[in-house]
Amino acid sequence: MKVLFVGEGEHDIGPPVQTGPPRPSRGVVSALCRLICPAIHADSIAMSWRDLSSYDLSNMRLRKRDLLGAMYVRQMKVAALIGPRKFQCVGAICVVDRDGDDEKMTTLQEGRLAAEAIDSTFRFATGVAIESIEAWSLGDPDALAKALGISTSDLDYRVSDVEKMKQSSGKEEFRSKTRLQKLAESANLTDCVELREKIAQETEISRLAANCPKGFAPFMSAVQDAFCPSRADKTN
């Protein structure tokens, strides 16, 4: 099944392309979702939250003063409009970084309900990475070590801390993006989309869910509910 991935940057959903939006779905979220639900096609597409806004010319004057939460709701409505009708997608998988904002999960739920008014058959799975998407690359140390070609014992962070890490942290060891960059450099690699994808492809998703219980675990469950037929049948 073809899915529209919505995220914040190229590490999440893949790099933009000259012909886009949309861009081919790549990055951490796409790779993990294909592990969660293999029925999701590799030729799925992705758009950034900003891409969705640029499509919508309805409220040009309102946009600047819209609150961030209202923006997400609006963008999810746009996804529900163009996902099926323009790009023949059966649903959307939307991810944001929490970045210290406790309201984001509630906002995405509101967006999901609002989008039903646009197309009630379009499926949504939403997730909030805590505190940022890097947690989902640091959350399975074995996968990370394998992708880097190093030993797990060489990893110098506690996996229980990954959902506490954020780039704006005052402590350098808690800056998740910096941590990943340094690990990549130590293995003579660059922190790039390809590396993030490789980590995701090596990931044992149940282990990642156990290590990221606030962010990845509920997201995995949401993806299964929305897109895995057997799981959906059980739910029904």
Binding site: Y55, V78, L81, K86, A117, T121
Partner: protein, 389 residues
């Protein structure tokens, strides 16, 4: 007013029926048939005014615009319009491979069929009505039998109404450069398709018997562009009777200042041209290509509003049917779905036209998104295709 036009074998309009209102906006990709429809309506009007041999010459030789170059195909126009309780229908057809044109008119119990041979201009026609009940042969000099024969006595009462409905149309693709040009004053001057003669047309309006028209026109201009206070047409060359277009601008409480149109915005000049069409002696059907060209997005709303008011007669000396094309989602944001016709072109079947109010779920979608935003996000294909099951 044309209520319905059915075109066959004209350019990419292989077999297309389009319902029209008084205000219509045509959207679709390039080469989808929007301009072809405008051409078709304009040409039909021309066949009622000029000898057919003239109309169908040069770029408009039938073998050049017949569908897929098939000279055996009949190129046919069928139009219907309102007239009293019954309405009227008129059809005109031409065979590119032969020299015959046919026309057929039906107004209630009145019916007329004519078959004309080109190029000698001999027409055989039958009139079945209370005005004439016989078959005749007459040389109409290669012009429409209906509009030539019935124009002369005894002219039936429906004649003027039918003629107004579709025989008078003009196509415009206005260029700000042409609109700004100084113009020689001549009697009965009309605005050219690109906008030449604007100054002469305005001069005719301003020097006409109704002095209030100038005030009305300038008020409408000021409503659209608040900084413009009025229009001034100074003489450039007395001997040649040449005048140019200037605008008087409000100066925040100071003395108004007059500037030449060369220094005025494209928007001011284009809006002035639309108002000249509204208040001048201009056709009943205005076919306008991309009126959004050169307009700032914030002016689109006012232009749409102005054109819509022209279509109801709220602005101008009478209501006019307006059919325009656009590629601007911003302009379309101010248009209602029932005013929009979506054009798509298919290789085998040619152009297909769908009213936007027939898009599945459009009422629900319009609660969330403006018309142009929907078009921008979905394109013609996405608007007309159902979502996947």
């Amino acid at each position: 007013m044309i209520r319905t036009i059915h075109m066959q074998n004209f350019k990419c309009l292989h077999d297309v029926k389009v319902d029209l209102g008084m205000f219509n906006v045509l959207i679709g990709p390039n080469d989808s048939g929007k301009t072809s429809l405008l051409d078709a309506i304009y040409l039909l009007g021309e066949t009622t005014r000029r000898p057919w041999s003239e109309v169908f010459s040069g770029d408009y030789q039938p073998q050049k615009f017949v569908w897929e170059g098939d000279v055996t195909a009949e190129i046919k126009w069928d139009v219907e319009g309102p007239l009293d309780d019954t309405g009227f229908s008129y059809s005109f057809s031409i065979m590119p491979g032969s020299s015959f044109c046919k026309e057929r008119l039906s107004c209630g119990t009145n019916r007329m069929v004519a078959r004309q041979s080109l190029p000698d201009g001999t027409t055989q026609y039958d009139i079945v009505s209370s005005y004439a009940g016989d078959s005749r042969t007459q040389n109409t000099r290669g012009q429409s039998a209906f509009f030539t024969v019935l124009r002369n006595s005894p002219r039936p009462p429906f004649f003027d109404a039918v003629q107004r409905s579709f025989a008078s149309s003009q196509k415009f693709d206005l260029s700000p450069q042409s609109l700004r040009r100084a113009t020689k004053l001549e009697a009965n001057c009309t605005l050219s398709p690109s906008g030449d003669n604007l100054v002469a047309v305005l001069d005719q309006i301003f020097t006409g018997p109704n002095g209030n028209i100038r005030i009305e026109l300038e008020n409408a201009l000021q409503e659209a562009i608040p900084t413009v206070r009025g229009i001034y047409l100074p003489i450039v060359d007395q001997n040649q009777q040449l005048k140019k277009l200037d605008f008087t601008l409000a100066m925040n409480g100071a003395q108004p200042q007059t500037i030449p149109s060369a220094l005025a915005s494209d928007g001011a000049v284009i809006v002035t041209a639309f108002l000249a069409l509204a208040y001048g002696d201009t056709p009943e059907i205005l076919l306008i290509e991309e009126p959004d060209k050169g307009l700032h997005p914030t002016l689109m709303n006012k232009v749409v509003e102005l054109l819509r008011k022209m279509s109801t007669g709220e602005v101008g000396n009478r209501a006019r049917q307006i059919i325009l094309t656009t590629h601007s989602p911003i302009l379309l944001n101010y248009v209602e779905p029932h005013e929009v016709r979506i054009f798509r072109r298919y290789p085998k079947t040619g152009t297909n036209v769908t009213p936007m109010d027939q898009v599945p779920g459009i009422e629900r979608l319009r609660k969330e998104f403006a018309t142009g935003a929907l078009w921008n996000m979905l394109g013609e294909e996405g608007l007309l295709e159902e979502a996947p099951a």
